[in-house]
C-alpha cells in the first residue's frame, strides 16, 4: 500500500478531531484576545488586555478559585470515603445485595438540576421541611443564607449526587481484585482491618487515583448546584470559578473576557491535576 494512503484513511478522524476539539479551543484563544461584548461584537484584537485585567484587576476570580478548591477537594474526599465504605459493604455477600447496589446508584441517575431544585426546596429556611422538622427542637439553621452553612449545603448536595459514581468505580475495582492475596492474608492470620490496610487499599490504589481524578475534574466544573441553590450567594460565599465565568460570559455578555478566564482556568486545572495525580500516586501507590 502506498504510504500516503495511510494518511488518507486517517483524514476523516483527523477532520473530526479538528472540528470538535481543535477549532473550539483555537476560537476560544482568538476570542480571548478580543473585546467582544454586548456592545462591540466581533473579533477585534486587543492583545493581552483581557489577561492583564484578569491578573491585575480581578480578585473576584481568584477568590472564586479558592472557594472552588475548597469545595471540590472536600466533596471529592467525602465522596471517596463514603463511596469506598458503601462499595466495601456490598462487595461481600450480604442480604439484599442487589437491592443496595441499585439503591446506592439512584442519586447519580437523577437529573442534577432537578434534584438541586428539590434540595433547595428541602433546605428553604422558612418554607422547607428541613427547618419545619428542626424547629421542633428549637433550631432554624440558615442552610442557604449563612456564609459558612451555605458552603456545607453545597457540599452535602454534591456528595449526595456524585458519591454513587465513586461507589460504582470502586465496586468495579473491588470485584476485579485477585483472590490470592486475601487467601495469603487469611493464612497469615490477618484480621479485617489489617487485610484492608495491607491488601485491599494498596490493591485499590490505581483505581482509587483514577476515580478521584475523574471526580476532581467533574467537581471543579461545579455549576448547576451553585446556580440553583444559592446563585453564588450569600454575597459571594459560594461563587465558584465556573459560575463566575458563566456570569461574565452569558449574563454580562463579556465573551472576550470570559474566554480569557476560561483558558486561564483550563491551564490552572491541567497543572493542578498533574500535581495532584503525582501526589496521590506517591501517597497511595508508592506509600503502600
Amino acid at each position: 500500500m502506498n504510504f500516503k494512503h495511510k494518511y488518507l484513511f486517517l483524514l476523516p478522524g483527523l477532520l473530526v478531531l479538528l472540528g470538535i476539539l481543535i477549532f473550539p479551543i483555537g476560537f476560544t484563544v482568538r476570542l480571548s484576545f478580543s473585546s467582544w461584548d454586548s456592545f462591540y461584537p466581533g473579533l477585534d484584537f486587543i492583545g493581552l488586555d483581557n489577561y492583564i485585567r484578569l491578573f491585575t484587576d480581578d480578585m473576584r476570580f481568584w477568590e472564586a478559585f479558592g472557594r472552588l478548591s475548597l469545595l471540590s477537594l472536600t466533596t471529592v474526599f467525602l465522596q471517596y470515603v463514603i463511596g469506598f465504605s458503601l462499595a466495601l459493604m456490598v462487595w461481600k455477600q450480604i442480604v439484599f445485595q442487589r437491592f443496595f447496589r441499585v439503591l446506592f446508584l439512584i442519586p447519580m441517575m437523577t437529573t442534577p438540576v432537578i434534584m438541586t431544585v428539590v434540595w433547595r426546596t428541602f433546605f428553604h429556611e422558612s418554607l422547607g421541611p428541613a427547618n419545619d422538622f428542626l424547629s421542633l427542637f428549637g433550631m432554624q439553621p440558615l442552610w442557604l443564607s449563612s456564609e459558612i452553612l451555605s458552603k456545607f449545603t453545597v457540599i452535602l448536595v454534591e456528595v449526595w449526587q456524585w458519591t454513587p459514581f465513586m461507589f460504582l468505580l470502586l465496586l468495579a475495582g473491588l470485584l476485579s481484585l485477585p483472590k490470592e492475596p486475601y487467601l495469603a492474608a487469611s493464612i497469615d492470620g490477618a484480621g479485617p482491618v489489617r487485610t484492608f490496610v495491607y491488601v485491599t487499599f494498596p490493591l485499590m490504589a490505581p483505581i482509587s487515583i483514577g476515580a478521584i481524578i475523574i471526580r476532581l475534574i467533574e467537581a471543579s466544573k461545579i455549576m448547576d448546584t451553585v446556580y440553583v441553590l444559592t446563585s453564588g450567594g450569600p454575597g459571594t460565599a459560594t461563587e465558584t470559578s465556573s459560575f463566575y465565568i458563566f456570569i461574565k460570559g452569558l449574563r454580562e455578555f463579556q465573551f472576550g473576557y470570559s474566554a480569557a478566564l476560561s483558558l486561564t482556568y483550563l491551564v490552572i486545572m491541567i497543572i493542578s491535576f498533574t500535581i495532584i495525580a503525582k501526589i496521590l500516586t506517591k501517597l497511595m501507590v508508592r506509600g503502600s
Binding site: D37, F39, R60, S126, N131, P234, T236, R251, E252
Partner: protein
Amino acid sequence: MNRVTKISTLAVTASLLAATASADKWSDQFPHIKNTGDIAGECSYESMSKKDYGGQKLTINTHAVPVMGEPTALHAEQFSALTGAEVKVIHTPAGDLYSKAMVPFQAGQAPYDIVFGFSNFLRDWKQYLEPVPAKYVNMPQMQDVTQGHIDVNSWDGEMIQFPIDGDRHYLKYRKDVIDNPEYQVKYKAETGNELRVPQTWKEYGEMAAFFNGWDWDNDGELEYGSAEVMKKDDLMFAAFFSRSVAYSKNPRVKGGFFFDLETMEPLINGPGFVAALTDWVEATKYTPPGGINFSLGDEINSFGGGQTLFSFSWDDAFIAAMQDDSPIKNKVGSAPLPGSDSVWNRSTGAWENTYNQAPYIVWGWTAAVAKQSKNHDMAFDYLCFFANDANHQADIAIGRFGVNPFRKSDFIPEIYVERQGWDSEIAKQYSETLLAMEEGSTNRVFPLRVPGVFQFNSAVATGTSKALAGQLSPQEALDEVAAEWTKIVKRIGADTVREAYAVGVALEDAE
C-alpha cells in the same frame, strides 16, 4: 300570563341577556375571553380571522411557563387557529432570554421572528429590532397605553418594543393588620408611633420589626415583617433601586440618578444610596428565615401566602394575594413606595431635610420583532393580537400570566371588582396607586438602559449582596460597585454610555 309573571319573565330574560351580552362566536371558540367576548379593534379576533397566513411560520422565543410563557403559547395557538399560521413557541428561562437572542443577533441570524425579554434590554437590542410600524403606533389600542409605558418601550421617541405588560414597584401591605384598631393601640402603646401605611422607609422598618416573628393573624404560624427580593443575581438590584429612589432622587437636582450625566461619574456610592443599603442590611433582621436568599418567586409565595406584613416589587405578589385561592384575598392593600424624611442633594453636597418620594418605573416584560425576520407583518400582527383588548382584559386577571396593567383603561377599579371579586376599596386603592405612579409624579426614576446594562446591574447585585451577607459595610460595598461601574464606563466608552443614558435622563427630568 298575569302582569307580575310577565314582568318577572322579562326581568329574568334581561338578566340572562346581560350575563351573556359579552358572549359571542369568538368567546364560544376561545373560552379565554368568555368574560368580555371579542372587543372590536384592528387586532381583534374578528379582524385576525380575515388574515391568511396559511403556509407561513412564526417562531417566538419567550419566557418559561407560566409567567409570560403561558400567555405567549395560548395566544400563539389562538393566532394560529385564526390565521392559519404555523406558530412555534420556544420557552427560555429568564436569565437566558438576553443571551439566547443576543447570540444570533450578533451573528446576523434570525432564528426567532419575535423575542420576548425585559424592557431594559432595549439599548443593547435596539439595532437588531424592527421599529413598530406607524399603523400599530397610531391604533386606538396603543393610544390607550400610558405615556410611561410608551416611553419604556421607545428609544428617543421611536417605539421599538411592543407594549404587552406594565411594571412598576410599589408597596404591598396587610390591610387587616395595619387597619386593625387593636394593633393600632398596641403599636402606639409600645412604640409611641402611629400604625399606618408607612410613609418612609424608616417607618417601614420599624413596623416590620414590630410585627416580626410572632403569630399576628392567629393562624398558628409565625409571621414576619417583610419579604423582599434579596437573592444575588435574581433581580435583587431592582429591589435595591426601589429602596434608593427616596433618598437619592432629588427633584431639584437634574442630570442623572445613576450617573452624573456631565462627567459620567457613578453616583451609586453617594450618601443617598448608602443610606438605602444601610436600611436594607437592617431589613435582613425582619425578613422570614432565609429571606436573604429570597428570589422573586419566594417573595411572591411569602407575601402572597400570608407570611409577611410588607412586600414591595412587581405586581405579582399583590395579584397572588388577591387570587381566589389565596388565604389573604381582600386583606391586602397597595401604596406608593415609602419615601424618606431627607433626600441627598449632590449639587450642594448636603442632605435636605424634607419629605421625598419617587416612583421607580421599573423595567418589565416586553416583546419585539427581529429586524432579520422575514415575517414582519405577521409578527407585528401576532403581538398586536396578543395585546388586543379582549386578550389583555383576560390576561391581567390571571396572576401567573405576569401581564399587569399598562393602559389607562386598566385603572378603572370596577373591572377588578366585577371580574375578579376584589373589595371595592382595595380595587380603588390599587388603581389610584398605579395611576399616580404613571401620571401623577414628576419625580420618577426610569430603569438604567445603557450599553452593557447587565454588567452594571451585575456589579450592583454583587456589591449589595456582599453588604447583605455582612462581607462588607454598605459604604465599602457601594464603593466597590462604583469602582466597577467606572471600569465598565471606561471599557465601553464614556460618550457611548452618556449618549444612551441621556435618553433616560430626559424622561426623568421632563416636567
